[in-house]
Symmetry: C2
Subunit: 341 residues, 2 copies
């Protein structure tokens, strides 16, 4: 069943059918009705390959998600989809795993799907530097800061990772903790001051907070670099417990990691928060269902979704990129104990 068949059955030309299909003006009410009837009756669906091959200015927004298992992103995606729908756009989802080149994929999507814009959930600075120049449509990077990349068609919205991590560390230091371990992503540790990926920024925040409080912090001992996963968090916590005498608290750079750490602490015969305090990051739904409920830095997923979509839609008109920070929030759960109490 092609548009040609529909034309034949309706007695009109393919061009007229195409106009009806796309809700364009310049079709008589009678023709529209007749064609619509045939469409209905045959259940015809246009071939999007042919459509994209020709069409300019689709109503489609691509969403490129880095890390299919990232529960924070899952929530954001869901909300973005309904926001885009409400704005008369359609969303197409593309998942790439953490180690793949999201920008290369986006470049291909750009060429083939001809989307009006692209939303990136998560992104790696190196990939952007290397391949983003190929992408000409308006883009928005969510949860990672992009102003330093300097692309005219790339906006960003994220929380301040340095500040967020600093606040987590502050919270622990204020509660009297002096030896805090940190479980970060695989590239968490680099030459001091270098690096701008999420893990590195958060580690920077932890270090700054310690410096401000006059508390020593030894990255070699107190930081473990691992994967953003349950197993990563489990191993990370185990290693910190073994390696850091006097450890009383742990910051994990994601709630999923924190959940792994929770179990590792339990398996070491210790309790959270009585023996070890624990703070996660992201504020995903699961964090509130843990026992104990996780204290965490909540990234406002809903706000990230809303601002991300809103800024992108605006940018599609104005052509101007915008970089915005959205507030985060330390959510107190049941996983931190005051040492002085």
């Amino acid at each position: 069943m092609t548009i040609k068949d529909v034309a034949q059955r309706s007695g009109y030309a393919v061009g007229t059918v195409s106009r009806v299909l796309n809700g364009q003006p310049g079709v008589s009410a009678e023709a529209r009705a007749r064609i619509l009837a045939v469409l209905e009756q045959t259940g015809f669906r246009p071939n999007t390959n042919a459509r994209h091959l020709k069409q300019r200015g689709s109503r489609e927004i691509g969403i490129v998600v880095k890390g299919a298992g990232n529960l924070l992103f899952a929530g954001i995606v869901e909300e973005m989809q309904s926001l885009l729908k409400a704005a008369g756009m359609t969303a197409s989802l593309y998942y790439v795993d953490e180690s793949s080149d999201e920008v290369g994929l986006a470049a291909q999507i750009c060429r083939e799907q001809k989307p009006r814009g692209i939303l990136f959930l998560g992104g790696n600075g190196e990939n952007f530097a290397r391949r983003f120049a190929d992408i000409t449509c308006p883009c928005m990077l969510v949860t990672t800061r992009a102003d330093a990349f300097g692309f005219a068609n790339l906006s960003s919205v994220c929380t301040d990772d340095v500040l967020g991590a600093a606040q987590a560390m502050d919270h622990l230091l204020d509660a009297g903790h002096r030896t805090v371990g940190v479980i970060g992503g695989e590239h968490a540790v680099v030459a001091p001051g270098k690096g701008c990926n999420t893990s590195q920024l958060r580690l920077l925040g932890c270090q700054q907070a310690c410096r401000q409080h006059g508390v020593p912090f030894d990255p070699d001992r107190q930081v473990v670099a691992t994967r953003y996963s349950l197993a990563g968090g489990y191993e990370g916590a185990r290693e910190l417990l073994a390696r850091c005498p006097g450890l009383t608290a742990i910051i994990a750079m994601s709630d999923v990691m924190a959940m792994g750490a929770l179990r590792a602490i339990h398996d070491a015969g210790l309790r959270v928060p009585q023996d070890i305090s624990l703070i996660g990051y992201d504020g995903i739904e699961q964090a509130a269902y843990c026992v104990p409920r996780l204290t965490t830095i909540r990234q406002n997923a809903s706000l990230l979704a809303r601002r991300g979509v809103d800024i992108l839609l605006r940018q599609m008109d104005s052509g101007e990129a915008v970089h915005e920070l959205v507030p985060f929030e330390l959510v107190e759960g049941e996983s931190v104990r005051r040492l002085d109490a």
Copy 2:
């Protein structure tokens, strides 16, 4: 940059470039080398829209996943992708939410992407009955039984849901529990004997086990139908605790639901397993990180992935559909207590 540009730069015709692009024979070594050089240098990537518009017999397998938040499926997808890659196929992922029509989407994919086959992760019997006739390529439904649907091009691989749930119930009854609540999906409760979706089959298994043990089971009181989510599990457990006097155990039809239930039980001032025993379903990674570790019916995700891919690939040659049950396993965690102990 199109194939035409490449042809021009290399000095050959577009047809020759196309043959090189697709690794086809009938190109001189010299031509191949020259064209390959231009390809390399320009970074040319063919437009898949144009390609699919024309091409028959792609190397592509579509994977249609029902429920983006389903952690069991997430694990299966990952393994399927690498299996397909190893078999020289490429996988394309499509997510639909639990309430959408996965078969309608697949029909469109079939028409447009012209995949060699389609893997369904999860599926609704009604959607298959209504729309599967439009799909002509070999298909495989994973985790849901499809032999009764009677389609010549649809295979299936799944565990025996009736038996799995029965075994969970057996385990509790053997441990001395007599009043077991069940948290199931939204369509868990229907006229007895009717219905063949996953929730219904599992409920059937629970009922059969009770009957065999001579233990009364009152669905109106002991079953709550809710969503497959943390919140669903939380509410379900709360309702069961309020509604079932003498309740000593709960079976949740997914581990995610069980995790919600875990928290609800905690919030009711009760402990797992001391006061309430709990069994989940699926055997996802998170279940092993809960405190207490969940006792659960593990669906062998890896085996489901391997058999699903293997049978589909075979079916693509033979044209014959196969329906296979794979074993499941009750994994003992720390969430069930023997009442007689």
